[in-house]
């Protein structure tokens, strides 16, 4: 652990410092709770009846109902949309992982003319706003009869996931010792063999955290899904945007909270389970170009 580096705070000698420490810890807990409150609020609303939602003062404890999860879910076909989202997110994440980590490897480790320009271009594509892509995607998909299909949404997601994976994995591969594949190649392994047999197994942690990021990013994507789906392949964020629009006219708080909870819960569990890798991946992604 590098925890010795904790600067500025943490001395325990004097009574004043001790008091400061307690104050800081209290502040830290309060800030965390404040940031968690909207999620707690959402979960609690999702189990409430309308009469307990629309009251002043707000009720902290009330009758518990699963109605928001049952009646509305059937009507709005939430379950199939959940499955759509899982398929699309997984598909896009896996394709992007394969293509992106291979490119990231080539950019970080191999001699290649134009590698700098290529890498720069791929990374620059992270700055392309999706809005600049949606009109053609919609027109072409419509012409080819590919709207409202998984593959279209998956390919659309690849546009922001591949640059992301290249970026993260390039940094990750750079951090591995060169001797790894050199040893393998001296033993008669080809580059490709060395990559799949040595580098990939050695990079599993980095790859898993990147994959999780991709799944989360694809899981919550809205714009592409909004434009490219309309019925069969509709994803959860699109459904939520629809409910949110209805909510403007009042009423659907419970269902909105219920769908929101179901969307957030698996990701939260997922994220907490792998938090160590996730935080590391996040930090590396930001700091190692």
């Amino acid at each position: 652990m590098v925890s010795t580096a904790a600067p500025a705070f943490g001395s325990r000698k004097t009574g004043r410092a001790r008091l400061g420490r307690i104050a800081t810890i209290t502040a830290a807990i309060l800030v965390t709770l404040a940031f968690l409150y909207p999620v707690i609020f959402m979960i609690s609303i999702s189990f409430k009846l309308p009469k307990d939602i629309f009251t002043v003062p707000p009720k902290w404890i009330s009758e518990i109902t699963f109605d928001n999860y049952v009646s509305y879910f059937h009507q709005a076909r939430i379950l199939p949309r959940m499955i759509n989202t899982i398929i699309v997110a997984m598909g896009a994440a896996i394709i992007s992982m394969v293509a992106g980590s291979m490119a990231g490897y080539a950019l970080s480790r191999m001699r290649m003319r134009g590698a700098g320009v290529m890498g720069g271009l791929i990374l620059a594509s992270r700055a392309v706003p999706p809005i600049a892509l949606v009109v053609p995607m919609f027109l072409v998909a419509r012409k080819l009869g590919l709207t409202d299909q998984y593959i279209t949404v998956i390919l659309a997601y690849v546009t922001f996931l591949v640059p992301y994976v290249v970026w993260l994995m390039r940094a990750f591969f750079k951090s591995l010792p060169k001797e790894l594949e050199e040893a393998a190649m001296i033993d008669g392994c080809s580059r490709i063999g060395a990559f799949f047999r040595i580098i990939v197994p050695c990079s599993l942690t980095g790859m898993v955290s990147t994959l999780i990021f991709c799944i989360i990013l694809a899981w919550e994507e809205l714009l592409f899904a909004l434009i490219l789906t309309n019925d069969k392949a509709v994803t959860i964020p699109v459904a939520i945007a629809g409910i949110a629009a209805d909510t403007e006219k009042g009423g659907l708080w419970g269902p909105l909270a219920a769908v929101g909870t179901l969307t957030v819960l698996p990701v939260v569990i997922f994220a907490l389970a792998v938090q160590k890798y996730l935080i590391k991946g996040l930090a590396d992604g930001a700091t190692k170009g």
């Binding site: 800030v31 909207p38 053609p136 995607m137 949110a244 909270a257 939260v268 935080i279 930001a286």
Partner: protein
Amino acid sequence: MSVSTRTPRAGADKAPARGSGPKTAQRFRLGEPGTAWLFMTPALVLLAGMLLYPIFYTLWVSFSDFDLALFEPVGWVGWKNYEMVLRDPGFLESLKVTGIYLVIALPLQMILGFAIAFLLNVEWRGRGALRALFLIPMVVAPVVAGGVWRMLLDPLWGVVNYTFGLVGIGPVEWIGDPTLAMVSMILIDTWRWTPFVVLIAAAGIMALPGDVYEAAKSDGAGRWQTLWRITLPLLVPVMAAAFVVRWLGAVKMFDIALAATRGGPGNATNVVNLYIYEKGFRSLEFGSASSMATIVLIITIVLTYFLFSISRRLENRW
């Protein structure tokens, strides 16, 4: 077709790397650059097809008349669409709204993020738990965040107005008033994204070299002096990097605005992405939508390049 007749060049051009197993390569020893391009091929094909081609398509649509009956762009009209959108007050307004959002939200989130990271960095038993909990807002889909905050900020039933009422403020029209709607949008965005900055900052603070602090202590440096003279300068690269990543996300702002305010009231929170979306897919004005998208694309690329080079310089200087 037997594998053995393939030349390395052809392999580099076509075969996705997974198809040609280690055996082929072993036998033919693809030259290093050839293999490198082989590794690049899947990503390049995907990006060429799904990114580059659409960008050129957008350009083409932006310079043509869009025929809604044929549902495709027909005929070159030059700068007509551009002239039109540059005279469109809605578009200019949406650029301004986006600018205000970026200029306020990004610095706010950076400052809050680093401040909270320092708070969370105090050593105690619950430190890891708090840091893990900070992951949670970050994985709430933006569209969900927008919807939930809309409830929290509801003028009639919202918890925020109830709390404000307890101290005699309000009722506050969070969504109904143009200025407050912008405040709300920035608030929601800040709630969603500050944890991201916190986690990056926390990792950066953890990685600070301990010996520098020992030295500062023995030289008699005070707490604030240490913070301003040592910690913050050492964190500049992390800040620069976090800012760039946050910028890349913020310019795509769409979901929260759609779910929370739908751009309203009027055009008060109509960020440019939302405006273009409405123009293209509600009013079916694909020509104008495409020229607006092209303008946004150019602005974004230029500003990103600018920020990137500043960030690089900062990262290298320290």
